[in-house]
Amino acid sequence: MSFLLRRSLQAALTMLVAFLAVFVAIRTLPNNPVLARFGQHASPERVAREMADQGWDRPILEQVGAFLSGVFTEGDLGESFAVEPGRPIAQLLGERIPATIELALAASLIAAPLGIAAGIVAAVWKNGLPDIVVMIGSLLGVCVPVFFLGILLMSIFTSLPAGFRLPISMDYESATGFVLLEAPFRGEFVVFFAALKQILLPAVALSTIPAAIISRIARSGMIDVLSQDYVRTARAKGASRSRTVLAHAFPNAAIPVANIAGFQLGMLLSGAVLTETVFSWPGLGRLMVDGVQASDYSVVQAGAMAVAGTFVIVNFAVDAFAVWLDPRLRGSGS
């Protein structure tokens, strides 16, 4: 219990430091958010007035205080100034985070099975043709930039448009912000399959790097396990080759794979900036890019907090899970 408490305090401290860093950094940039929004058409007096209205002409510490008191007294995260003017940040995050989660999950569902299968195949036929193919494939998967792959995919599969979570002609009011995860439960299977088609390309593009990394970890883990005595024993006792590999060897190689897969999921959940930008996917990563370019302070602050929060939570979950799994980690502290 003391472990969880300590980790919670650490997590809270990490979040606070991340928040302060972003809050101050975005305000020290020379960009004027009013000019960023109104461009050539803002008159100097009105710019000054708008800055004062928003409180951005006050000392930075005062702004921190005002923001934090808003958060803690009213749960108010402020509102967007430029990206979607006037909309509460909480509402914006509520729309964008589900889009990112769906994309991350879809990419993971492609990356994990693909990476694991490729890793196993490569290990079983070590140094053979399958191994070479998998290794070259995984090298390409890590090396080819997502924005390039994205554009390539879009120009090849021109019938699969990206950027919309649903086809233009489809009217569907989502209750939760999740479309893919929610539609089947509401019996909206047409919506579900339409949404699945829309997410396919960005998910494939996003899955390449995690799939490549997972396949490498799975391969080395399997090679290690396959050379151990108990595997030979299993074969000697008459277990088939596939049974030996899948039932005896793989479970032992799976631990590091699950570890890395969890970590990759954390990365994906914190907003795939490049993929979301290339495919115009309306998620957290794209929101952050828009926010930074438009100097939309509230959006950047909140987005950074959401990213930091995701990382803290994922790390926390992985650690807690490890402790639950391995009693030796309890008690002794670190």
């Binding site: 109104f38 461009g39 050539q40 099975p113 950027g163 019996g187 699950a258 969890g262 490890a322 391995d326």
Partner: protein
């Protein structure tokens, strides 16, 4: 730190959810969510999404496309199909039926249309007009200056209002036709301004239905519009920021109209028998800003050398695929007071001639004590503008043009949202810039872009930081000159002075072009650049994709 490890359970869970999701294969198809619904849905695709839909709180062109269809103004530009571009720039009655101006030009009385309702069912009357105009003048961020001459706005009857001006204003009517003077429902605005900015309520030909930002915005026809119902039942406006994707969707018929495409893509699309390209001479100018405050660019001979080094016709052919015309003065030919004499003078006195330009540079270097090559930073916006459709290509063109005359150009690409503020602070030596007319008036170009009243680090549009007392006096005098001929003379003089001093280099006037599917009929481009969708309809019974 504890070592991280996890059980294979996680993998089973992942695999199980995969099965759960894909396992439904084929079990769907019974339920559907109204795809298209009506057969008369027009889909309009553009490069970005709107920001605020409150007329006084935006300056985004993407927002204006929505506003111009949801709101009416007191007066407007004629948009009757089939008129010539010049005829379409006539101001005609809209929510105001008629108006009269006092002898001294200071009191304007507008008689308002009766029987008009906002989309929320409330009545349009004098109170609503006064409320909105005051708001445009007092609360606007971007266009408030256009209404600064209005001293008071009063109700003179249930359907009559009086505007008193502090000085005569020859461009008041044009400014009242601006989207920033749109008339919205006072009830809705007073109730919740933020909500109004996301769910606008006007009297226009279309009423707002819904908006999922970065996804789609839906409008429906206003059957009770005072000019009769529009040609389609529903309009869906979608942001598709990749040009390639927008083109594909147009070719597949998923969208009917696609705006803001690059010149080469439009020429390619023109070959598709299902698609036609609409074209209109725009009211814009793309120019090369020169920072007049930095040495040696403060030397008029250096600026004239730059002027002479750029072959505008070639720029038009290479970068705009011929869909633009060379510019020699800031005021486009479609705007009154454009001075054609400048083009002839430029060709005679300062023709494209790198050798002569190089000689000018060498003489200037000797006199000014600097050495060649001169190193200059050219700022380039990262996103295309209507007047600068291929910024990178244009920047490269200028770099190559200036190299032979002894100027080494370093191109500095900058995101559009930070671009103007950096130019307004004068950080650049050279910069790509441009302007699209707000109100069809030469003042909008000359006073705005070159008068010293507009040099300001936080929002001044005289990016070239040019100061000239004589021109300032002309421009100020023109602001209150009610005699059109005398007023024009001031602007023509100013254009001659600009040619002489070369504080910037006008480059191109571009055509505004839009691609549409041939089943769409009746929609045409307006010279002001506004996408008025009221006349659009489907030629056959073809409708939504």
């Amino acid at each position: 730190m504890p070592r991280r490890s996890a059980s294979p359970l996680a993998l089973f869970a992942a695999a199980a959810s995969l099965v759960l999701i894909t396992g439904c294969g084929g079990c769907g198809s019974s339920s559907s969510s109204a795809g298209g619904g009506s057969s008369q849905t027009l889909v309009y695709g553009r490069g970005g999404d709107a920001d605020s839909l409150d007329p006084v709180k935006t300056s985004s062109g993407e927002s204006v496309t929505v506003l111009t269809n949801v709101f009416d103004t007191l007066v407007t530009y004629d948009d009757t199909p089939g008129l010539s571009p010049q005829e379409k720039l006539e101001i005609v009655p809209a929510l105001a039926e008629s108006w009269r101006i006092s002898e001294d030009g200071l009191v304007w009385t507008f008689k308002l249309r009766e029987g008009v309702e906002f989309h929320d069912g409330t009545r349009f009357d004098a109170d609503a007009a006064v409320f909105n105009l005051l708001r445009a003048r007092d609360e606007g961020v971007s266009y408030a200056a256009n209404f600064a001459a209005i001293e008071s706005i009063e109700k003179a009857g249930d359907y009559e209002i009086t505007l008193r001006l502090s000085k005569p204003s020859p461009i008041l009517l044009n400014n009242l036709a601006l989207f920033a003077a749109s008339i919205g429902s006072p009830t809705a605005i007073k109730e919740d301004e933020d909500r109004f900015a996301q769910r606008p309520i006007g009297t226009g030909p279309f009423r707002f239905v819904s908006w999922q930002p970065k996804q789609k915005l839906t409008l429906a026809s206003n059957e009770n519009h005072w000019r009769g119902p529009p040609g389609v039942d529903r309009v869906i406006i979608v942001p598709v920021d990749q040009n390639a994707a927008r083109i594909q969707m147009l070719e597949r018929g998923e969208i009917h109209i696609a705006d803001n495409l690059p010149p080469s893509a439009l020429d390619e699309l023109a070959k598709n028998p299902a698609i036609e390209i609409l074209s209109d001479p725009g009211q814009n100018v793309g120019y090369l800003s020169i920072n007049n405050e930095k040495a040696p660019l403060n030397d008029v001979e250096v600026r004239r050398a730059i002027w002479q080094a750029i072959d505008r016709q070639r720029l038009v052919d290479v970068v705009y695929a011929g869909h633009a015309s060379p510019a020699y003065t800031l005021v486009p030919p479609t705007v009154s007071a454009h001075e054609p004499e400048i083009e002839a003078r430029s060709k005679a006195e300062r023709p494209f001639d790198p050798k002569a330009a190089r000689e000018k540079m060498e003489a200037a270097a000797k006199a000014g004590g600097f050495t060649l090559p001169l190193r200059l930073r050219l700022f380039q916006m990262n996103q295309p503008r209507p007047y600068m459709q291929q910024p990178l290509e244009t920047a490269n063109f200028i770099r190559d043009a200036l190299q032979p005359i002894g100027i080494e150009v370093e191109i500095v690409p900058i995101d559009l949202r930070q671009y103007w503020q950096r130019l307004q602070r004068g950080e650049h030596d050279l910069a790509l810039a441009g302007w699209t007319s707000d109100n069809n008036d030469p003042e909008n170009f000359l006073y705005n872009l070159l008068d010293y009243d507009h040099i300001n680090d936080e929002g001044g549009n005289n990016l070239s930081r040019f100061r000239n007392e004589e021109m300032h006096n002309w421009l100020i005098a023109a602001q209150t000159e009610m005699d059109p001929a005398k007023r024009e003379a001031y602007y023509r003089d100013a254009q001659r002075l600009v040619f002489d001093q070369a504080p910037l280099v006008p480059l191109v006037y571009t055509e505004v072009r839009t691609a549409q599917r041939k089943e769409v009929d009746g929609f045409d481009l307006h010279p002001t650049g506004l996408a008025k969708l009221r006349h659009a309809r489907f030629a056959t019974e073809a409708g939504a994709p």
